[in-house]
Symmetry: C2
Subunit: 202 residues, 2 copies
């Protein structure tokens, strides 16, 4: 299927994004007032808004654009690459876990475990994404490969090399699975999700 901006034009696609952003945050306001849940709903909405904002996804996207614009003259370091991904995709993955914890009145300890699990899951997802762009084929991935290098983008294979990137991914997946086992007292969907991120082909 063509993307929204190809099908309906750029202006409408931007407005669709604005509408979805607003509709997402609005979800927290749709349930009837409830003395027990109201303050948890507000806390969860706050966490989501923070993960989206200038210190989260939007901030990461801005730095990603800047890095591409400066390329290849700009700073190309592992620290910068990790910071961009931590903000651009990592914080949204982490807050998805935090919301579940907050709305089920999880302990501070559980919230911290969920957060570390999400951090590792997000990082593994991103390294895998970069690896697929190098190792996969258009047929397998369902979209063009080799795009990152063509755009001069910073990637994990570009900075660490292929072999070290594979090892870094394996390590974060292992860590995520260990945290999942603690959280789920054995096997469960969080562990399966970490496995899926590592094994996915597209």
């Amino acid at each position: 299927m063509p993307t929204c901006h190809k099908q309906f034009g750029e202006a409408t696609a931007i407005l669709a994004g604005d509408a979805l952003l607003t509709a997402g945050l609005r979800c927290f306001t749709l349930f009837p007032p409830d003395a027990k849940f109201d303050s948890a709903k507000i806390r969860a909405a706050n966490a989501v808004a923070e993960a989206i904002g200038t210190r989260g996804m939007i901030g990461g996207q801005v730095e990603d654009i800047e890095a591409e614009r400066e390329s290849p003259a700009g700073e190309r370091s592992l620290a910068r690459l990790e910071r961009i991904h931590a903000n651009k995709t990592g914080k949204l993955i982490r807050v998805a876990l935090a919301v579940g914890g907050i709305l089920s009145f999880a302990s501070g300890e559980t919230l911290a475990l969920l957060d570390r699990y999400g951090e590792n899951l997000g990082l593994a997802f991103q390294i895998k994404d970069d690896l697929l762009d190098v190792e996969s084929t258009r047929e397998e991935l369902g979209k063009a490969t080799g795009k990152d290098e063509a755009h001069g983008k910073m990637t994990f294979p570009g900075i660490l090399g292929l072999e070290e990137s594979r090892q870094a991914m394996a390590k974060t997946v292992l860590e995520a699975r260990a945290l999942a086992r603690t959280l789920e007292s054995g096997a469960g969907p969080l562990g399966e999700l970490a496995e899926f991120v590592s094994a996915r082909k597209s």
Copy 2:
């Protein structure tokens, strides 16, 4: 000053808009939990998100873009023009008043008066906007005039004529001032605001 997209590029300007939208809705989550206010905060945030979304500002903007795209072949009616403005700017003005009412635990009757006041204020603002584009000069307005006609946009003067548009604006301002007098038991800032909208030169 140059606009954001001229100064920083279109991608960054779009992200700045997303960030401000998120930051705006986040405001409702920034105050400490409070059993008395939590459900009112959620109700107010819901009203704001609805006023922004597809049935409010964003929906109005989409129809405005469509109308311009169809121009001059599309439907050009007073009903369509009023619907576009009611969604695109009117609902945000109305919800600004609603939030004040909700957070101060106003009665249903007061909320209804605030809403009617906002509806009239928004309509007056928009008719005045169209009139200024026709009647004002670049020096007085601080920006180019005659833009609406050049873009083939639907406007109140274009559909009703100048004289009838002036009368329509005077009528809505009169109505807004009467509602303000009821709400403020005499003179007050809501009445002054209606007066300002009618008298403004830029």
